[in-house]
Subunit: 299 residues, 2 copies
DNA sequence: CTCCTGTATCTTATGTACAAAAAACGCTCG
DNA sequence: CGAGCGTTTTTTGTACATAAGATACAGGAG
């Protein structure tokens, strides 16, 4: 059976919408709610029915109105609002990064399914999609082999990354002054500075800033294959940041400063300077990543 | 139920093995056959049972021997020996390239399943895996949108291809004289010349030669992401050659000559020359591909 | 003792079932 | 007559069942 995470997330979101209303206010029409919650009208109707069951709505049809008589709002648990696929990815990455399996070992679908409390179908689909990240590989006879997050992986990853990023950065620098991306870059620069000013408390926030910055650089020259590759980068770094806590504050501070240099280089529009600083930043990011890889196992 | 294409292909292969024996010769042991046919012993035993049923074997256990009393060998039809996934890919590419669906339209899994005579599960898994080729895209609400084989696709594809190939070609040229890849390259050069000599009759053979040549160039510097990307190239060109027959002989002849120049450039080890000739060849391949793309539909 | 076969067990691939969610349709009330 | 609602139809996501095929184990012939 399909999970109803869409409904549950929509319901929780709807509670916030309702909370903004005063008692007796009319409920917005279903189509409006559907657009606002980002789901179909079918789901909105299910949400409304649930709200009604909980007594938060009076009337029916076109005469629905809010009834907020001091009732406590009862949202669904956060965990139930996350699609199965996303949870599996999270669990799988943790399973791999924790070193529960050695590079080179065979992945057992049924095992994982039991461990992650999902059906084998979900695992299988996940592995299929996950294949593109280069961390697992198909065996000719069926099944999957764990390649793992090794130094070799990091090296190959950064070889491509350098090609893509150097190219994108140079294209970025040639954009006309009028492009809105310059404005975005200026804003990101401010965010970097703000984060640097409060680095001791907020160093965790760098992960998402990092991802946003590098993604901004590549939007100057859209290419579906590069975009796809940056999904790998984002995934790897997302979990890397979560997993490797060693020297986290220092690492992030260094990276922020490198980003600021990088941004200044972009503003300078000097190709040589961009090339130079971009390479420096990537080399330092590569070293950081390599230090947290697993020892390469046997093939 | 799982398809038994593995068994059927193994059986057909086994018929060839048996045909090489003389009447009364002992049948090779199961483990040997398994290695020779590239399947597990379980499947070998099933094949042997079938051969026995057809009266091609006398005796049992360790005393099995061939019985070729003039019987006609009855292999399974070729089509039944191809795994479902491969057939689906073929059908899907034809469906797309024939223009049965416009770029931008939504893909209906059930429809395709019926059309291709497979279960929806197979279609679904195929689409998941096919996603990485950049020809389809996920909708946020679930399901897939056909991006299609458009000029935009070809441009983005070649932008990456040029980066990868230039890099690989330069690395190739720096390999020591002793590397076996030079020998492989020499052999491929001969094959190109042979094909050119008989181009009118054999121009179809260029497709696989093309793929083998470009894959050889990239093996000099293995990188899983580049390898993955070349699977896309191979797929696209494989179907492109099958589908676009216009000027095929001329196109292929031009490409062979370009390959020969390319190979000579590699042997020259001159970086400038390699860069120059490689760009020329890729530009010409790009033009060829673009000419056979579909007009970009609405997003 | 070693190679081979017979047998049991495990794992994956594919078909079918069914609920969730989306999309389409048509009615009704203002 | 048109925005909004009730209802029906499609389509997708997940679970489960089962046969194909791989792997592991044990006994026996040479």
């Amino acid at each position: 059976m399909k999970t109803d995470t869409v409904f549950k997330r929509a319901f929780n979101d709807a509670l916030h919408v309702v909370a903004e209303l005063r008692d007796g206010d009319p409920i917005p029409p279903e189509t409006i709610l559907a657009a606002r919650l980002g789901v179909s009208r079918t789901t909105v109707r299910k949400v409304l029915a649930e709200l009604d069951d909980q007594g938060l709505i009076s009337g029916a049809g076109r005469t629905r109105s809010a009834r907020l008589s001091g009732r406590a709002l009862a949202p669904f648990p956060e965990a139930e609002t996350v699609p199965a696929a996303v949870q599996v990815e999270k669990q799988f990455m943790e399973w791999m990064l924790r070193g529960d399996a050695k590079p080179g070992s065979v992945i057992n679908e049924l095992d994982l399914a039991r461990q992650f409390r999902v059906a084998t179908t979900v695992i299988r689909e996940f592995l299929h999609g996950f294949h593109r990240f280069g961390l697992i590989e198909r065996r000719p006879s069926g099944g999957w082999v764990l390649q793992g997050f090794t130094a070799g992986f990091a090296l190959e990853l950064f070889e491509i990354r350098e090609m893509f990023e150097l190219r994108s950065a140079k294209v970025f620098a040639t954009m006309p002054e009028t492009s809105p991306l310059w404005q975005d870059l200026r804003r990101l620069r401010e965010e970097h500075i703000a984060l640097l000013g409060d680095i001791d408390a907020r160093f965790h926030d760098f992960s998402s800033l990092d991802s946003r910055f590098h993604r901004l650089v590549i939007t100057a020259s859209p290419n579906r294959f590069i975009d796809g590759f940056y999904e790998i980068i984002t995934l790897i770094f997302h979990y890397h940041y979560q997993w490797n806590k060693r020297d986290e504050r220092e690492r992030n501070e260094v990276a922020i400063r490198e980003h600021l240099d990088y941004i200044d280089a972009l503003f300078s529009r000097s190709e040589a300077q961009i090339d130079n600083i971009c390479r420096l930043h990537l080399a330092s990011a590569k070293q950081t990543l390599i230090r947290s890889t697993a020892p390469s196992g046997s093939a």
